[in-house]
């Protein structure tokens, strides 16, 4: 399945996921203390340089991931243009773009598996209190496995609906889709139970 990790290997791929996440937390927190348009402009060029240093296609992928922010950039620019407070507007826009671009950089250079590993490591202290994290791991695996199945099924159902109905709205598939999913869950749960359960008890 498609993830947001860049297929192109960069120097950031070599840094461990937990270190990148820690750095991101520190940098993002620090960023919100910066109140100078001059420093923020310097930072955005640094971030752009970081992206561009990984190659043109990597930078383009990064720019595309920032694209959903354009309505907010437009609104802030308009608002602060009207109130004639362009400096504050510029700071808000730059700070937002830098923060999101840095976070995207971590996402683009860390595989989903590494991210899940960090998550499971963060949950590990639960084991000390007798709470098993095994069901969490199984739930994540089942979730990822079910996504393409359900997408395929909804596409099939939409096609069947379109072939038989004059209307264009697709919301009618939600009830049968949900019912089929709930039925699947029953079968999968039985199969899991037959194979030893989700591992809350140590059955050896």
């Amino acid at each position: 399945m498609l993830t947001l990790t860049s297929p192109q290997k960069t120097i950031f791929h070599k840094i461990s996921a937990s270190q990148k996440l820690l750095a991101l937390c520190v940098l993002s927190t620090a960023l919100f203390q910066v109140g100078s348009l001059f420093i923020l402009s310097g930072l955005i060029f640094t971030v752009m340089a970081l992206y561009l240093a990984q190659g043109w296609s990597f930078a383009r992928f990064g720019a595309r991931m920032l694209w959903p922010l354009w309505p907010f950039v437009a609104i802030i620019a308009l608002y602060h243009g009207v109130t004639n407070d362009i400096e504050t507007g510029g700071e808000i826009i730059l700070r937002m773009l830098i923060a999101v671009a840095l976070a995207n950089l971590v996402t683009m250079t860390t595989t989903l598996n590494d991210m899940i590993d960090v998550l499971m490591r963060l949950l590990r202290p639960l084991n000390w209190f007798g709470v098993s994290t095994k069901p969490v791991a199984i739930t994540i695996a089942l979730f990822i496995r079910f996504i393409p199945t359900l997408i395929d099924r909804s596409i099939t159902m939409l096609a069947a609906l379109r072939a038989r109905s004059a209307g264009k709205s697709g919301w009618r598939i939600i009830v049968p889709l949900t019912l089929s999913v709930l039925n699947d869950a029953e079968h999968v749960a039985n199969a899991l139970r037959a194979r030893g359960g989700v591992g809350t008890k140590d059955t050896g």
């Binding site: 990790t5 959903p68 504050t88 937002m96 999101v100 976070a103 979730f143 999913v181 899991l192």
Partner: protein, 180 residues
């Protein structure tokens, strides 16, 4: 235990599928994604704890790098963007929907309306508006003004959620766990 685990996983996957299937355009041309409808359904079908867990699973994996949010968005950048409150609000919305659903014991249709409104609108927009106000450095009222257009779409989803939950309950009552 196995049943809960699997139900949480498949409902989270349903939320993902609802976000990726395009064109849930309603009669009067409000282009809405069915994703937040999925979040409401987590609550009305699974109840507070399991529904909240399903929404949480969906959000955590989206942040970890799966592009599951409507429009193919995902990744850690969501936590730094203006929609951060809505992202964090998803599990809260599902939990509140389920919590209300378990307590308002009228017929399934009415309960679902009330529950999905309290969860999918009230409990979602409070963190959503706060987050947007913080990131864009605006007042709460101004932030609410920016998202107010979407409230209409979400109210439509509250109605759909009610009818969908009722239909599921009629077909297979034992599947609506918030009621059993």
């Amino acid at each position: 235990m196995e049943r809960s685990t699997v139900l949480i996983a498949v409902l989270a996957a349903l939320v993902a599928a609802l976000g990726l299937v395009p064109k849930f355009t309603l009669a009067f041309g409000v282009p809405i994604t069915a994703q937040s409808l999925g979040i409401m359904m987590c609550g009305t079908v699974l109840g507070a704890k399991r529904g909240g867990a399903a929404a949480l699973l969906f959000i955590v994996l989206t942040l970890a790098g799966l592009p599951l949010l409507a429009g193919g968005r995902g990744g850690l950048g969501l936590l730094s963007g203006p929609s951060v409150g809505f992202i964090i609000g998803f599990p809260l919305a599902a939990f509140v929907t389920g919590w209300v659903m378990e307590r308002v014991q009228t017929n399934v249709l009415t309960s679902s309306f009330i529950a999905s409104f309290m969860g999918g609108v009230v409990a979602l927009y409070i963190p959503g508006v706060i987050g947007m106000a913080l990131i864009l450095d605006k007042s709460l009222m101004a932030a609410f003004g920016l998202v107010s257009a979407f409230v209409i779409g979400d109210l439509v989803k509250v109605v759909i959620c009610g009818f969908v939950t009722q239909a599921i309950y009629r077909a297979q009552p034992e599947k609506v766990l918030s009621r059993s």
